[in-house]
């Protein structure tokens, strides 16, 4: 229930005033403490420009750099994700924004491109990826045909598109891309307030990329109302899970220190407890934290462009009885759900939140995720391997229907006929069952070497209270010598799988997305000096063979005695002859003088 309210809150922030908004800007920050001293901070920035001014290239809130790229690449809807880390669903519960604003590890990009046919769409797609690569300082230009897929059912357009548009969905991932500060800076430059005012002023690369999990997203989509007013909406969000203890450490002294003896709370019930032995007790109270403590700075006023929006900009999800100190001037509104309070910021004064340590009485309850998924590479050796995907349905009553989408690089060649399923109930018994029992539909597009990767989309259904394991075998291809990256022995990244759950409560509009972690595939790597060795060895052998044959053909063969005689004749006789000639000359001269 509470999670649903959180999600509805997020969606309220996401679609604030769809009907009235024509050209406006909104931003919000939702802070929610999570178990194990984690803190989820969800930043969202949303701005609209009217479609007409967008078409005439008059950019006000919409960033010109991005607008130009979209126009140039005929892109109608764009989704770009930068993600690092792993969302710990076991302890943190369901994902923020129902997973719609996060991507797989690395960079993920998908877009709807208006083009006459597939080739034209792909050409525009390459243009788009390369332009975005320059804009976001990311290696998006490495999205080529082998990393591009055209998902069939896994993604749906979020915006409203005219039926006349000939839209093509293209999807690309770069699982090995390392997201860092150089991607955040252009991201912030796209904002109207540039991270200098509003909640964006909290975003600092040092803290953001120190998080346990973080995801940056850029979504561009056209939205049309019934009346025919169309806006182009850019929705940027940053979600981070920070470790409170870690973030509170001062930057110049980040090494964790043990708690001083006097502050240790010991478990006195232990039999070995004494003056010099202590079993530390877990603190039952909630930790104290503040915005400036965790982010290293406070919010420097609200972005003036958001003026007029009445709902709070900064929302905090803690029980109402929890004590919270906010800067004077901020208007605090407590929501009736008992867990949410929101603050509206002043434009000129900076805003800070401080939450003192307090004995925890209630906790914001976290919902159970609808589905847990795990994907691993099994097997051993350089030639073959296997993939194992585990779907766990925690619900005791409802079966879960979902779409499983994965793209595999071409050098990983799956054998789909080996696709097998086992089901484990709550009793812990494993049963081998035919895979067709769970797989309702399959879309499979096999790979072509060096041209495209494998695309596999499965419509699956996992029964209640059971765990389904899918396995299939694959073969590892041998790459060409020049196709290996410089760090070939590190392994090759395999993009995460995407799971799309149609909403359990029948609402088909907003699906839930889950992404597995990315995988690392070790491929057989050659000795890279081999070609030179081969060339040199072959050359030597050929030269030897040639030399002996040539000598056999050309040389004259004599006995050893003859050879020595010849040598004597050639060298000695020549020398001797000269000596004799010299002597003769000398003698002749003397004879003449006489």
């Amino acid at each position: 229930m509470t999670v649903f309210s959180l999600l509805s809150l997020l969606f309220l922030a996401a679609f604030p005033s769809l009907a009235s908004a024509n050209s406006d800007y909104h931003e919000s920050l939702v802070l929610q403490p999570l178990p194990q001293s984690a803190l989820l901070a969800s930043f969202n920035f949303q701005s609209n420009d009217s479609q007409t001014s967008f078409d005439e290239r008059h950019f006000r809130y919409f960033p010109r750099a991005l607008g130009q790229i979209l126009r140039h690449a005929n892109t109608k809807e764009l989704h770009l994700r930068f993600t690092t880390g792993r969302w710990d669903a076991e302890s943190w519960g369901p994902r923020p924004w129902k997973g719609t604003k996060e991507g797989g590890t690395g960079v993920e990009l998908w877009a709807w491109i208006d083009a006459v046919d597939d080739e034209a769409a792909f050409a525009k797609w390459i243009t788009l990826a390369q332009s975005l690569s320059g804009l976001f300082c990311a290696s998006l230009n490495f999205i080529d045909s082998t990393r591009t897929t055209r998902p069939v059912v896994s993604f749906e357009p979020m915006g409203t598109h005219a039926a006349s548009d000939n839209l093509h969905l293209l999807h690309g991932t770069l699982p090995g891309e390392v997201v860092c500060t150089e991607n955040l800076t252009p991201f912030l430059k796209l904002l109207p307030c540039k991270g200098k005012a509003g909640v964006a002023s909290l975003l600092d690369g040092h803290k953001l990329f120190d998080a346990s999990w973080q995801s940056m997203s850029v979504d561009v989509r056209p939205i049309c109302t019934q009346a025919g007013d169309c806006v182009v909406q850019i929705d940027q969000s940053v979600d981070i899970v920070l470790d409170i203890d870690r973030s509170k450490r001062p930057r110049d002294n980040p090494i964790p220190r043990p708690v001083p003896n006097e502050q240790l709370v010991c478990d006195t019930s232990k039999p070995y407890h004494s003056d010099d032995t202590c079993y530390p007790l877990e603190s039952t109270s909630d930790k104290s934290w503040g915005l400036s403590e965790i982010f290293g700075r406070s919010i420097s006023g609200s972005c003036p462009l958001t003026e007029g929006s009445t709902d709070g900009t900064v929302c905090l999800r803690v029980p109402h009885e929890r004590e919270v100190h906010a800067t004077d001037g901020a208007v605090e509104v407590k929501r009736p759900d008992g867990y949410t309070r929101c603050f509206t910021l002043e434009s000129s004064t900076s805003f800070d939140l401080a939450i003192p340590e307090q004995e925890a009485t209630t906790q914001v309850p976290l919902d159970e995720p609808v589905l847990r998924a795990e994907r691993t590479i099994v097997g051993h050796g350089q030639e073959r391997g296997g993939m194992r995907i585990i779907f766990d349905n925690p619900s005791d009553t409802n079966a879960v229907d979902f779409i499983y989408f994965e793209t595999l690089p071409w050098f990983l060649r799956p054998y789909v006929h080996t696709l097998q399923a086992t089901i484990t109930g709550r009793d812990g018994l494993r049963r081998q069952v035919p895979a067709s029992q769970f797989i309702k539909e399959t879309f499979y597009r096999p790979a072509i070497d060096r041209e495209r990767g494998t695309q596999l989309e499965l419509a699956l259904s996992v029964p209640a209270a059971s765990t389904v394991t899918l396995t299939y075998d694959f073969e590892k291809a041998i790459l060409r010598y020049t196709e290996y990256p410089p760090d070939a022995n590190r392994g090759f990244n395999v993009a995460p799988a995407v799971i799309k759950l149609s909403s359990a409560d029948g609402g088909a509009s907003h699906p839930i997305y889950i992404r597995t972690t990315s995988l690392l595939l070790p491929l057989p790597t050659p000795d890279f000096s081999m070609p030179y060795n081969v060339i040199i060895l072959t050359s030597t052998v050929i030269a030897l063979a040639f030399g002996s044959i040539f000598n056999l053909l050309v040389r004259r063969f004599v006995t050893a005695e003859e050879a020595s005689a010849m040598r004597a004749q050639t060298l000695k006789s020549r020398l001797g002859g000269k000596l004799v000639a010299l002597r003769d000359r000398v003698k002749g001269k003397t004879a003449k003088t006489e």
Partner: protein
Amino acid sequence: MAIRDIVVNPSLLPVLNLSAETREQCMQLLAVLDPSADSYSDSEERALAASKEQKQLFALLARLRGLNRDAILRVRDTKQATAEARQEIDRLHLQLQNLYYEQRHLTGEIAACESYDHKYLALPLIPLEEFLALHPEHRESDEHDLMIARINHEHAEREKLEQARQELLKRKQALIAENNKRKEDLASLDQDLERFIDVSLCPGEFRAMLLTPGRPPSPSRRSSKRSISGGIIVTSPSSKHVLVMIAKNEDLSSSQTVDTHPDYTMNVSTPSPRPPPPEKPEAIRTRFKVIAAFWAVIVFLGFPIWWKTTSIYRASLPIPEMIDWADGKTCRPVFPLEIRVETPHLPDAEAQHLLRTTQHTLDDLNEFSAHHLRLKLSNDNADEQLDELADTALTVRLLPQDDLINPKSELQHDTTRLDVFYSPSQIPPLSSSNPPLSAYIAGELQQLFTEEKAIIAQILSNSHAASATANSQPPSAMLSSVSPQLAESIAKRLRRSMKYADTYHLAFSLFTPGTEPSSWDIQAAVHDYITPLLQAFSPISNFTVDTQVQLYATFAPTAPAPEYDEGHAAWTLKPEDLSAFINAAEWPLSPSIGPGPTINFILYVPDAAQSPLVVKDSLATSWVVPQWGGVVLLNPSNGTQLRHLSRDSLQAPFLTFSHQLLTLLGAPSTPAALPFRLQTLTRIRAASLLLSASSTMGSLARLTESLPSIPIPATVAASVATTLSHLTSACEHLRRGRFQAALADARIAETEAERSFFEKSMVGQMYFPDEHKVAVYLPLLGPIGVPLIVGLLKEVKKAIALRKARKAN
């Protein structure tokens, strides 16, 4: 007494006696002195007695000492005597020992001699009886002599035998040598035989040889048993002659002398080891063929393949033509401007006359031959109907107006028309040669075209400065007549203006350091002030327009901050710091996507705290960044911040922007009429494009000549051909005064020239440098190449030697 028993030596006895006596005396003295005895009455007496006794005692003691001394001396003597005696005894004992040793040694020697085993006992002598039989004279001699005799006999016998052995050994050596010699003779016989066979295959020669007496070896002398004989039967298929040749070792000399080979006979004369026989001619021929075959493969197969696979494609370019273009030899751009004169109120003859006189005056005024004005009556173009019409640069309409003392002219602002008003009285009579009206019109026209002329002259002189062509009138001559201020301003404008492009992207940006204003009426402003200008320019270039609003656009931290000037009550920027005004790192001024340059126009609204912001000294609020764009500072009029920039407040900045755009596009500043300026711009652009395409051609030609290793794809050649043809036609159009067509051709020429110059495959580098390839393939090339080359050299040497030998012969 015990001591008497011990001391018996008579010499010591007196000592004993004396000592006894002395003792007695001592006793007496003691007795005297003893007070208890009391034999003496008084002490004096006692003292007398005691001294008497004492004297006696002393005497005794003195004697005793003497005796003692004697005794000691005697002991000493005795000791000496004893030592001497002992020495004597020791010497004698040693002598005895030596004698004992001598005796033992001699005994041993004698034993050894007795047991010695002499060689003569083991000598294998002939038995005694035999010896005695041989030498009976020794029968009587004793055994010793007999033995000596026997031994001597044996010695003599053995020496005799050894001598015999040596002789035999020598003989054996001689025999072996002889044997070897025979063997070699046999081998050379084989050689002879083969040569013989060769010769015999040629029947004529063979016959001749047969006829030659003494040539065939004689088959006689088979007497020696040890001689090795060989025989061969050679059958000559053609001549049916059968020759039986038998060679004998002993007869070799005769057969060898037959041989004509000089070396061979010489070799034979030398003793062993023998050198190998000379090579057979066919072996030499075979070797020559082998080497030739290898080299043939390398030269006719290897090199062509290598050449074919490593050569780069170079399409042929018309280099001289291209260089001629660059040097301006092919085309000398001229600008014949056609000016139509409308004379609706003048009779034809008078109009013609006026025209002629005006043209004369114009020609007199003009010093720049490349740019000249041609007047034409608007109604007499019948003769040019067939030909293409030249562009009309200007239309002069002569309108009569009464009550005018001097003629007056007016340039229409929206067309290229010059209205000249005159009083009818000023119409020149047909006879006048230099009427004032003509002079006036000519002067007006000349003034109108002054700036254009100067710009064109500048462009031409810039491009021809290096080449220095021998034009009849160099354009720099024209420059000298232009006023220096005008020349400088033209040069400045040329430097500022953008390079010509097909498409320009205009980016209008509103920057503000704070948050306000955050919106502007940009659509209306662009529509009102920019779009008309762009439409006017559309024949020359295409334009796209982008706009954006950027808040929080602060100055770069390194840029100098504005200073407050009390005098003007304004914040001022130093003119030299204007280049740092734009914060290129932070402000999103990325160039637009697509071909063509971006011209940026920045409207900067300063913070309220720093308003008004002006440039120091000049108090200007706008400036042009050469070849980049323009900046306008918009200071809110009443000092308060605007939240929204209305259309009215944008009027002034956008008019400035349109002026800056004209400047950046290179349009002249005078006259005021825009169509006229655009026409001028057409001519200027055509000229500059023509020159730039020509110079690109020249650069390409020089590049291809200076870098023989770069490939020239066929597309480059095609582009060059297109460029040249379009250049020619552009030049022709210019000559005929059709400037629009000339511009169109020059645009194509420029595009093609750039395309050919920046062809991607021309700048591609080889993946492997040659040195690497050689290093990798050296293990192959070295061992193969060295024997081949050495073989070739040897053959060549031999061939040269052979030729020399032949010449010598």
